[in-house]
């Protein structure tokens, strides 16, 4: 059996304004406060293309190894839905601005190259809120998102497992964050995915039966993409078993070619009694039950009546323009990963987390390393404390009060003063709270310069000399008696001694005591 998966990914481009008007694209604005006559589709308005959106789209297409069309135009895709005020979406049909690229992915089955059919620009629709009670109440429409620039990236149907689909999406996210084309936040809808899935089941004559393609729409997390595909494969195999020889029959009259396979289609009897192909259909994914829900199969294919948008003129792209955008691409994530490993000696794991969180995050790490000179420690703090704080505070690294430079100063300072992890975290929290530098935060917390090992040793020796009873108890086998010695030193240092060093010194000195 072969599984065939193709993905259509929509990413929101990092522009300040919409694709054809000056309305803001900011996420989370109050409903219907970022619309204008252009994006509401009022008569007599004229859309004008956002140049930055076009540049970002080109950057993404080049990073996906696509070839850029020298001549590209915009088309209207016509359909009715309440979230589409113009009753058409401005998209690209027969002359998209980029074609035929690829993406290298890595899965447990090894590396794989996934072909990309095309990437094109289009505008987003609005957002609808449905009556959750299902009581037939009105649906509500917010048009803020209408006209937001999207890049649609269509893969070839070349993925064969749900794991590959996940790896492909993760790679797209890493790449587009890395080159700062999109923030790819699935929760905020800036990365969305539709998955086309079907199965080729081998027959005794060497051909394969293809189950009807199902397009699973609007998957909102990478995990759900993987779950939905896994569920859909099972569902299609069951449906095939249940229907063949009853509602469905295999079209024995002809085969089509898919790679090196000969594939047969399934047919069903329509209402006029004629055998016709079972058509492609769409499905939603129910997160709660982890299953795909098939929507009604339509006999006629959708008819979008694409035609060129007369309001928008074509774009002609020159070689110089392509070269200029290529020049601005900078370091691609795959190259960055290799460099972080060789230049800083980072583990693949650490380098991967840094790269995956985008170029500003890598910059943050590199600034910290430059100041403190300890890449390992900088990577540790960046990928653990800083990342979980960013998540909790819902901030990007650019908004984070502690810059890479400040993190570097902090790391240098805690190393110099031999602060233990707990103390270091207190200093870090103070820096975060007050926005101050490490030295100021340490001063404010009243942390004294901590004794070095020589001073600690002297204190331990003093403690042993003045705690004869504890020493005697320890010698009798009461291991806990050592705590008295440690407590003495901790009091002397106001709790700032490095616990590991202290533990070692206490045990060494107790062993030497008569």
């Amino acid at each position: 059996m072969h599984v065939v998966i193709g993905l259509e990914v929509h990413v929101q481009l990092l522009t300040r304004t919409k694709l054809f008007c000056g309305c803001s694209t900011e996420f989370g604005l109050p409903p219907n406060t970022a619309t204008c006559p252009v994006c509401c589709g009022l008569p007599g308005t004229l859309p004008v293309m956002n140049e930055h959106a076009f540049q970002l789209a080109m950057k993404a297409a080049l990073a996906l190894h696509c070839s850029i069309a020298r001549y590209t135009k915009w088309d209207r895709k016509n359909y009715f839905y309440p979230d589409l005020p113009k009753n058409y979406q401005i998209s690209q049909y027969d002359l998209p601005f980029s074609n035929e690229g690829w993406l290298d992915i890595e899965t447990s089955a090894g590396p794989k190259k996934v072909g990309i059919l095309r990437a094109h620009l289009e505008e987003d629709a609005g957002k609808m809120l449905h009556d959750e009670a299902g009581a037939g109440g009105d649906s509500l429409v917010d048009l803020n998102r209408t006209g937001t620039p999207l890049l649609e990236i269509v893969s070839h149907p070349e993925m064969e497992t749900a794991e590959q689909a996940r790896a492909y999406l993760e790679k797209i996210r890493e790449l587009l964050r890395g080159i700062e084309v999109s923030d790819c936040e699935m929760q905020e809808g800036s990365l969305r995915c539709d998955a086309n899935v079907n199965v080729h089941v081998p027959q005794v004559d060497g051909t394969f039966v293809a189950t009807p393609i199902v397009e699973i729409k609007n998957l909102n997390s990478i995990r759900n993409v993987e779950r939905a595909i896994a569920h859909e494969i099972d569902r299609q195999l069951n449906e095939l078993k249940e229907n063949v020889g009853k509602e469905w029959r295999i079209d024995e009259s002809k085969t089509s070619v898919f790679g090196d396979r000969k594939v047969r289609r399934l047919e069903f009897k329509n209402k006029d009694g004629a055998w016709v192909p079972v058509s492609k259909t769409t499905a939603g994914f129910d997160d709660r039950f982890g299953r795909t829900e098939i929507q009604r199969r339509k006999e006629e294919a959708s008819d979008y009546r694409y035609f060129p948008d007369p309001d928008l003129v074509p774009a002609i792209v020159s070689e110089e323009q392509i070269a200029r955008v290529k020049g601005k691409l900078g370091e691609l994530p795959e190259h960055q990963l290799a460099r972080l490993r060789s230049q800083y000696g980072l583990s693949e794991y650490d380098a991967d987390i840094l790269v995956r969180n985008g170029r500003p995050f890598v910059g943050f790490f590199e600034a910290a390393t430059e100041v403190c000179g300890d890449a390992k420690e900088a990577a540790n703090w960046a990928t653990n404390d800083v990342l979980s704080l960013l998540k909790a505070r819902n901030e990007t690294v650019v908004e984070f009060p502690i810059t890479g430079h400040k993190l570097g100063e902090f790391l240098a300072e805690i190393k110099k003063r031999k602060l233990n992890k707990q103390r270091a975290r207190e200093v870090f929290a103070e820096m975060l709270e007050s926005g101050s530098h490490a030295v100021a935060a340490i001063g404010k917390l009243g942390i004294q310069s901590v004794a070095d090992e020589g001073q600690l040793l002297e204190m331990v020796q003093r403690a042993i000399a003045s705690n004869a009873k504890a020493v005697a108890d320890f010698k009798k086998g009461k291991v806990k008696a050592a705590d008295a010695i440690k407590g003495f030193v901790m009091r002397e240092t106001k709790g700032q001694a490095d616990t590991e060093v202290l533990q070692r010194l206490v045990l060494e000195e107790l062993a030497k005591a008569p």
């Binding site: 300040r16 304004t17 000056g22 009105d138 007369p310």
Partner: protein
């Protein structure tokens, strides 16, 4: 090629969301047949070696900078809404 009344009904209902009387369907079928006939006639023109025209204007590369402009106040944006609920357009229930 003749456009049948059934095709007109399908186009009106599914693609244009128009509710037509039987008399209107008959009229439109006749009109559309004439239009399609005219296009068929145009199709006979020899176009070998002629580049397809994607846009009638000789213009290209009209862009605007990515600078935010003021949007409509919500009351003005919703002024034409047939039905408003809070700050939303309200439409007959749609189930996904």
């Amino acid at each position: 090629m003749a456009i049948t009344p059934n095709e007109v009904r399908w186009i009106a209902r599914e693609l244009a969301r128009l509710d037509l009387s039987d008399a209107e369907v008959e009229d439109l079928a006749r009109d559309l047949t004439k239009i399609v006939g005219y296009v068929d006639q145009l199709q006979e023109a020899k176009t070998d070696g002629v580049e397809p025209l994607a846009h009638p204007l000789e213009l290209s590369n009209v862009f605007r900078p990515d600078n935010p402009q003021p949007s409509l106040p919500v009351d003005q944006a919703l002024a034409n809404a047939p039905l408003r609920k809070g700050d939303f357009y309200a439409v007959p229930g749609v189930f996904e």
